[in-house]
Structures are given as structure tokens and as C-alpha cells.
Symmetry: C2
């Protein structure tokens, strides 16, 4: 896993992934007490950065692998990213999703042409279900984060941040990234190491699901005690990956930990002042920048708003809250 | 009023206005029955295309005029565009707003440093109020649409559409534009005439406030019978402008007329599938593309989503409606 793979992924994504800008608003700056730049990956195809990793992985397959097809496990964003990339490449796609995934994510994944197989998180073993189908049909598994080509795709986000920060004259800043298993965070960290080494990448996670923050503190992989009970479904994973964690450990600053309410407030701010739609997990980094400024250094912070696939009922909670 | 003024405005806006992309989603294409590209001016600074016209007008003033300051009448989007441009140029700014403007627009205009003077639409004459203040302080009035430098600024939207359509290989398409007094629509029409003459620009307006559509049909300026009772506050004006109408008449295709409910449905679609926040008036063109496809020619349509400054309560109505 290295920068050359990220640069190669960027070439494969050229003309296919959307190059998202850095958004800003004086109202965000006032709340945060410093300049805030937001990279809205909610505007990416399929509504999250996961399209990048999906495209990178599918486009790196052999023609024979593509013809047999791909399979992924996902509560939603990885599912849509892989499904969309697979369809564009003419590859059959099976997605194994938990029954309690947000309805909008299930509907959209089906709408992107994937075959969706539902399972019950409480009683069924998704790995067993997936392994059986993959074996029967010769499908290639595309993991959500612990896969070099997936990390390479997500890392293209970091190449864009490095280029745009340089254009804006930003030399020192924390880059806060919504973090589940660490695919996006580790990819951005590798890209910044190469192209913007004075930027410091830091993960943001929900309270109670801060496996990466605790792993960074302890220096060893820590697990979350549970996997349900957060609004931030997009970034809840059991533990950092075997590939991602060594990268995070080597390159990242300390993790930020935010509450569900803070994520809802950040969604409200993004609605009012950036006019973008964020999901709770996609707003965790912005929540860190807006409401945990005492843990951030410098006069500028860059935030990756990683996704915007949210059910209307959850979005209404963000509209109802006082930012 | 000509293309050279638009190109000059584009040079003045360079590095200040955001260059918005063309967004798309297979889900929108499926609803519309053709390819749909959306230019999200809700992502523009201050949340609408009005920043372009405001910046163009303020940057075209003499240093002496800028030091005395500017004044504008607006229910909100023009107010914020002018206020933000004035602040960046160090020009004092007075905005005269109706008391029934959306709260978010009033709050944001004040937050951008403008002095806001409220008036009662029913009992007070805003022109008299504005004229008195302008005379007392020597302020320059920046009209919302019937001003060549404002039209020039809005027209930069059309230069970007022409360039992006060419890059996508789009040769023939309707370009549907949310239309109030016609500043944005006429500016885009002039830009497309020069740079993409096979694109056809068409206004979209709310039912009952379709002065431009009726004016285009009759060939003479028609007025709206009333000015209240639409959700689309951003695009309700008494009649097309004296400068804008001749341009619209010469260059535009027939107007599209959409209902408030169709605008709310379009906002819902934009929320779910583009993850952008639109206000009702900013969704009129998308509503036309999605729900009036029988009036549109060709396999591709381009839509300008002109703004996203919407109160949470109105946005909730869009979340509650079935798209």
C-alpha cells in the first residue's frame, strides 16, 4: 500500500469520479473560531466517497474477474459505490446488507442494478452467507476498507485536498476525516504524507464507537464493545483494519470523538450555510471542527464530509435541533 | 448589454465566485426519461447565483461609489449576494427587506454585515424608503435584475454551462432556468447565444406567477395579478424587466410553469439523489425537467438549481412529500 497506488487509482478515476471542491462559509468560521473548509463527498457519485474505492477496486480487476462479478458487504455507502462502479464496468454485483440498514440506502443500491441479499444482524452470519454465494458464482469480494485498491481509491480524496490546500495557501491545518475502519482516513493520510506533509490527518468517530481513537492512544488495535446504538451507521465498524491501522498509527494525529447530537447539529449547519445534505456519520468530522475546537491547532481546519445518504426522518431530527 | 460585459464580469469573478459543476444521477434520469444535468447554484457563495450579480455590480463601481456604499431591495437572495460582495469590497451596505421574508434569509443577510431595514409590504412603499436612505447617504442602488452589470454577473453561469456542455459532448439540449425578473435567464441566454448557440434557454416559473411565460407568448410584457401566495419567494416579481425582456424574447424558448407541490417534490429528489439543499424557487427548473418532460425536446436537459436558502419548516414539507 503506497502513494503510487493512489496516483494510479486517480488516473483510473479521472473523468469518472467527481472532483469535489472545498466549500466554506463565514458562518462556519464564526462557529468554529477559525477558517473551516469542507470537502463535500456527499456530492460524489452515489452520495459518498465510497464510489472512489469501489471504482478503484472494480477497475483494477482482470477482465475475467469483472465478467464473473463482485460481491460486497455493506450497510449502504460501500454498497452503492461498488454497485455503481460495477454497473459502469458491466460487472454483475451482489450486495449483502443488514435488514436494519437505512431504507434510502437499500432502495438506492437496488436502483443501481445490484442484487441485494438481506440478512438479520442478530441471527445470521453475513460472512458465511457471502462466502457461500461468492464461491458458487466465482465472485470477487470487495472489502469495505481493508483492501489496498479500495484504500487507493479513497486516497484520491487526499490528493485533491493537498492540491486545493496548496492553491489556497494553506500550509498547516488539521484534516479531520469521518472514520469507520480507516480506509478513507489512511488513504488521505498517505496522500497528504506525499503531497502536503505539513497537514495533519485526524479521525473523527462517534462516542462509544471510538475504536480508532483508542487504538491510536494505546498503539494497538482496540475493538468497539458494541456495533449498534449510533446514528452514525456509516462509520460503525468493529475495529480498525490490519492494513489501515499501521498507516493510521504512523501518520495520524489524535482522534476526535463526537456525540450523535453534535453530528445532528453539524448537519443543521451544513444545511443552512453550505446547502449540502449530510448523513450523521458523514457529519462527524464537521462536528469535531465546530464543537471541539479546543482540541484543534491552528487558524484553519479542513473537514471531509464523507457522505449524505440519510433517511428523511433522520434529516428532520437535524432540522429540528438548534445548531 | 452584450456578451463582452459577461466575459468581463467572468474575469472579475474569477477566484471569488465558485465555479459550480454539473451534477447528475441515474435516478433523476429515470424520473425525467432523459439525461438530466443540474447546475447547483445553491453551492454558490451565499447559497444562490445572486452572489455573481452582486459581485459583478459592486466590483464595477468606482472607488468613490464603493466608499459611499450600496443599497438593495430584496426578499433575501439578492440581499445576501450584494451584502457578501459589498463586505469583501469594503463597501457599506443597506438592504431593504420585507418583514415576511424567510427568517433564514434575514438572519444570514445581517450575518454578512449588512444594515437591514425591514418594511411592511402591505402598508409601506419600499421604493420610497430606499430612495430616501440612498439620497441621504449617497448610496448606489443595485437592482435585483434590470441592471446590465447584474445581468452580466448572472450570465457567467451560462459561460460555465456552455463550457461544461461542450466537454460532455452535449450539442442540443433545453437549458431550464428558474426565472423571476429574468436577470439570470437573460444572462444565460446571452452566454449560450455566444458560446453554445444550439442550446435553448427556457424560463421556469410558478403557476399563477408566470409573467415571463405569458410575456413570451404574447410578445409584450405581462404582469402577475398578485405577488403573494407562492412558496417560491425567490422568483416572484411583478413583471419581466425592461432590459431583460427583449433578450428573453429574442433568445428563449417557451416558458415552463410548475406548481408548488412539484417544486417540493423536486426538492425531495435533489435531497435524496444529489444531496443538495434547494429552496422552492430554486427547484422550479428541476420540477419542470422532472414533471413536464412532455414539453421538453431531446435526450438531454440541463437545469439551473438557482438557490438553496430555505427555512427548515419549508424543507420539512419537501421531506414529507412523495417525490
Amino acid at each position: 500500500m503506497n502513494i503510487d497506488m493512489i496516483r494510479a487509482a486517480a488516473r483510473r478515476l479521472e473523468g469518472h469520479a467527481r472532483r469535489t471542491p472545498l466549500l466554506s462559509s463565514p458562518f462556519l468560521d464564526a462557529i468554529a473560531g477559525r477558517r473551516v473548509f469542507v470537502k463535500p463527498e456527499c456530492l460524489q457519485h452515489t452520495g459518498s466517497f465510497k464510489f472512489r474505492g469501489g471504482w478503484s477496486a472494480v477497475s483494477a480487476l482482470t477482465e475475467d474477474q469483472r465478467q464473473r462479478g463482485v460481491i460486497a458487504f455493506s450497510s449502504g455507502n460501500h454498497a452503492q459505490g461498488v454497485a455503481s462502479a460495477a454497473r459502469s464496468h458491466g460487472a454483475p454485483c451482489v450486495i449483502v446488507m443488514p435488514q436494519d440498514a437505512p431504507a434510502v440506502k437499500i432502495t438506492n443500491t437496488k436502483g443501481l442494478g445490484a442484487e441485494v441479499i438481506m440478512y438479520d444482524r442478530a441471527t445470521e452470519d453475513r460472512d458465511a452467507i457471502g462466502a457461500r454465494i461468492a464461491a458458487e458464482r466465482g465472485l470477487t469480494l470487495i472489502k469495505p476498507f481493508d483492501d489496498p485498491q479500495v484504500i487507493a481509491g479513497q486516497g484520491t480524496t487526499g490528493l485533491e485536498i493537498a492540491a486545493d490546500a496548496a492553491a489556497l495557501g494553506i500550509t498547516h491545518a488539521d484534516v479531520i476525516v469521518c472514520c469507520g475502519g480507516g480506509g478513507l482516513t489512511s488513504g488521505i493520510a498517505l496522500a497528504c504524507e506525499a503531497d502536503a506533509p505539513t497537514l495533519r490527518v485526524r479521525p473523527a468517530e462517534p462516542v462509544g464507537f471510538d475504536d480508532v481513537a483508542r487504538s491510536l492512544t494505546s498503539g494497538t488495535i482496540q475493538r468497539n464493545p458494541r456495533l449498534t446504538g449510533s446514528l452514525c451507521d456509516a462509520i460503525i465498524t468493529p475495529q480498525p483494519g490490519d492494513i489501515t491501522f499501521p498507516i493510521l498509527k504512523r501518520l495520524c494525529g489524535p482522534g476526535l470523538v463526537v456525540s450523535d447530537d453534535e453530528c445532528l447539529r453539524a448537519m443543521n449547519v451544513a444545511f443552512s450555510h453550505l446547502r449540502i445534505v449530510l448523513e450523521p456519520g458523514g457529519a462527524a468530522a464537521l462536528a469535531g471542527a465546530l464543537y471541539h475546537g479546543d482540541q484543534i491547532d491552528g487558524d484553519t481546519v479542513i473537514v471531509v464530509a464523507s457522505g449524505g445518504n440519510v433517511d428523511p426522518a433522520t434529516f428532520q431530527r437535524a432540522l429540528d435541533i438548534t445548531a
